[in-house]
């Protein structure tokens, strides 16, 4: 699949995002994040709340505020660094080349403007079409994301739609101009399971139809398992494990990944099978600069973990940031 293309569509190099106004102590929300997305590829960024996954996506889109934020590294889109682009240039790219679907469809749609206007806005802005043509295309788009009676729905306001339908509208808006890259930030977290299944199906089909690449940001490893080719696991602002999805699920090597998989209740596991939680909470971290942030919660901790920072290194079939990873094919290692 990647043979025909000589460079990744999106290549994030050593991205860092620091928050803190002048004179205040800076907080590194994201650090040393590198990832590649090839055309048509589906890549996941997995982590718990506070791990920096959403900040990464906002940095890629250039949606972070100017004040009090320092973004470092490179975000190369087809070889061009997005971080050096002017706001105007970015506005031209957003929607047409790179689009985004947010978690909460109620707050990302404008409540006082009809769905139709919000959907045609992106078409009128990026494509050379008349209003009537945009309208026609909008009806078609809503139909494609599975909204019944699309012509009527176009005249409605977001509050008149259900949560699942609002999320479909967002997907329709994001894919209206057939972008090459879609960033989906927890697109189904606010939805019920059966609606989540509908929306994921629509997302999958449309991404396949338009041949777009997908960066899926989620905390749900179940969603990742059925959707993404490559998985990056983030903890406290850095990527700790990065590999192909089959290898990650069959054989997690980082103790955090292993612990996460062992702590999720699964529908297909036998009843009474014990869950092995990760002790402590995501707020108990050490600074990455002097130690491994996961060390306080890690069952595989060795002395080095609290003395110096592990680097992300290519280890066999994956990139791993750990001094004492779980053994190959050892699923229970994180359980102590």
């Amino acid at each position: 699949m990647t043979g025909a293309h000589d460079q990744p569509l999106l290549s994030v190099r050593d991205l860092s995002v620091r928050f803190g106004l002048k004179g205040q102590r800076q907080v590194a929300a994201v650090d040393e994040v590198s990832l590649d997305i090839w055309p048509g590829q589906h890549v996941a960024l997995v982590g718990e709340s506070g791990s920096g996954k959403s900040v990464t996506s906002l940095a890629v889109m250039g949606l972070l505020p100017d004040r009090g934020v320092e973004v470092g590294g490179e975000v190369l889109y087809r070889g061009e660094d997005l971080l050096t682009k002017s706001p105007k240039e970015m506005a031209g790219l957003r929607g047409s080349e790179i689009a985004m679907v947010f978690q909460d469809p109620m707050t990302s749609l404008n409540p006082v403007i009809t769905v139709g206007v919000q959907l045609t806005e992106v078409l009128l802005r990026h494509l050379q079409v008349s209003k009537a043509e945009a309208r026609e295309r909008a009806v078609e788009l809503l139909g494609r994301v599975g909204i019944p009676d699309p012509a009527r729905r176009l005249r409605e306001y977001p509050h008149q739609l259900s949560g699942g339908m609002r999320q479909r509208v967002l997907i329709a808006i994001a894919l209206a101009c057939e972008p090459k890259l879609l960033i989906a930030d927890e697109p189904t977290t606010a939805l019920d399971v059966t609606i989540q299944a509908q929306v994921l199906e629509v997302l999958k089909d449309l991404v396949a139809d338009t041949d777009a690449a997908l960066l899926m940001i989620t905390h749900d490893l179940g969603v990742v398992a059925g959707l993404c080719d490559d998985v990056n696991v983030m903890y406290s602002g850095r990527i700790v494990e990065s590999t192909n999805r089959n290898r990650l699920f069959a054989n997690p090597r980082h103790p955090y990944t292993g612990g996460l998989l062992a702590s999720i209740p699964r529908l297909d596991s036998p009843r009474g099978a014990p869950l092995t939680p990760i002790p402590g909470s995501p707020t108990q971290t050490l600074p990455w600069t002097s130690a491994c942030a996961f060390a306080p919660r890690c069952g595989n901790r060795v002395e080095a973990c609290t003395e110096r920072a592990p680097a992300l290194e290519a280890t066999g079939d994956r990139d791993l940031r750990c001094f004492n990873p779980l053994a190959d094919a050892d699923l229970t290692g994180a359980a102590r």
């Binding site: 718990e48 709340s49 599975g146 909204i147 019944p148 009676d149 259900s162 699942g164 339908m165 019920d192 399971v193 059966t194 609606i195 989540q196 299944a197 509908q198 994921l200 199906e201 905390h219 749900d220 490893l221 179940g222 969603v223 990742v224 398992a225 059925g226 999805r245 089959n246 699920f249 069959a250 612990g259 996460l260 998989l261 702590s263 999720i264 209740p265 699964r266 529908l267 297909d268 596991s269 009843r271 099978a273 014990p274 869950l275 092995t276 939680p277 990760i278 002790p279 909470s281 995501p282 707020t283």
Partner: protein
């Protein structure tokens, strides 16, 4: 079989929809819970699953009389809670407690943990000393130093532990946990689920665990009831329900849950329901699920509401065609979002 600790019969919770300020008149009814029967045996855990808006939280709240009961009975250990008044109800609540979904919203930010944990004891006039607080904190795995702290000083998982400690402070026999882990991070959920299980063993508690996450319920529940639009559609022992779901809605619900394993995800068959949950203010006629059911049969499903019928020992299903569907005599048909809307419009 022994007498169940909690017996719910024909429970209905209807909320009026009113219009007009001065001459308020009722223009409709939201049938949040519409005729539910449930049995919970002592020492067991019943899992209640359903999607948001199906009435599962209202059902739980009505069982503790935190929501008004329109009709029906909730018999707890021989007493009908639904008809109790004032003082009798208040003292009854000693035996029935609740753990809420959002631990931050359900703990008073201006009260120390000690005050939070002893408030139920004071309210019921039970003598206590500081050793009781330490004991409660120890039971839920918090250090005794936590007693002097305030809710904002804790993480989400720890706050939920405080909420659980408060619920067990009165040594209740029955605890309703409404989405106890859905507000927590994945790595923390398992800690709280294990805690609930340990407490059940130690204190002999009976649980009703309300959740939208089937995997969570699978992990904690002995018996499971599936709810759709105000009614129970299927109830069985957990193993039975998860290995052989029989109601078309249960099947769809289970197939929609993503499994964190690519091999499973790629091979399994997925049933994707069309349309959204209909409004409980205007539910479809007949079987509530008929508008979205891929097995709908002409007119009977549209006209007649199915009762829960025991299909196999201990496994009840509310579906007219459950035998035919599971033997393969009735094949599923394609539904589109448009047909769902059409069917809902007719009813």
């Amino acid at each position: 079989m022994t007498e169940p600790l909690v017996q719910v019969r024909g429970l209905k919770v209807h909320f009026p929809i009113r219009k007009g300020l001065i001459l308020a008149r009722q223009t409709g009814t939201v049938r949040a819970v519409d005729g539910v029967d449930l049995d919970i045996e002592a020492g067991r855990t019943l899992g209640l699953v359903g999607e948001s808006g199906c009435g599962k939280s209202t059902l739980g709240r009505a069982m503790l009389r935190l929501a008004p009961v329109t009709e029906g009975s909730v018999v707890f250990d021989g007493t009908d809670v639904a008809t109790l008044e004032r003082e009798a109800l208040r003292s009854m609540r000693q035996n029935m407690q609740m753990v809420f979904q959002d631990p931050l919203a359900s703990l008073n930010p201006r009260q120390s943990v000690e005050t939070i944990l002893t408030e139920p004891l004071r309210a019921h006039g039970i003598a206590y000393d500081s050793s009781r607080v330490r004991e409660l904190l120890e039971l839920v795995g918090l250090p005794s130093a936590a007693a002097q702290k305030y809710p904002h000083e804790f993480s989400g998982g720890q706050r939920q532990r405080i909420g659980i400690a408060r619920a067990i402070a009165l040594e209740p026999r029955f605890v309703i946990a409404d989405e106890p882990v859905s507000a927590l991070d994945v790595s923390i959920q398992a800690q709280v689920l294990n805690l609930l299980e340990d407490l059940q063993q130690e204190l002999g508690l009976t649980y009703l665990v309300i959740a939208h996450d089937l995997a969570v319920v699978r992990h904690v529940a002995d018996d499971v009831a599936v709810m759709y639009l105000g009614g129970i559609v299927e109830q069985a022992a957990s193993d039975d329900l998860y290995s052989t779901p029989m109601h078309p809605y249960t099947k769809a619900l289970m197939s929609a849950v993503p499994v964190p394993d690519p091999r499973v995800e790629e091979t399994r068959e997925r049933i994707i329901l069309q349309g959204d949950l209909p409004s409980p203010a205007n539910p479809p006629s007949g079987c509530r699920f008929h508008s979205r059911c891929p097995f709908r049969q002409e007119t009977r499903c549209d006209d007649e509401r199915p009762e829960l019928v025991e299909v196999r020992p201990g496994h009840t299903v509310a579906c007219h065609w459950v035998e035919e569907i599971n033997s393969g005599q009735i094949r599923p048909h394609e539904l589109t979002p448009d047909t769902v809307v059409q069917l809902e419009g007719h009813s």
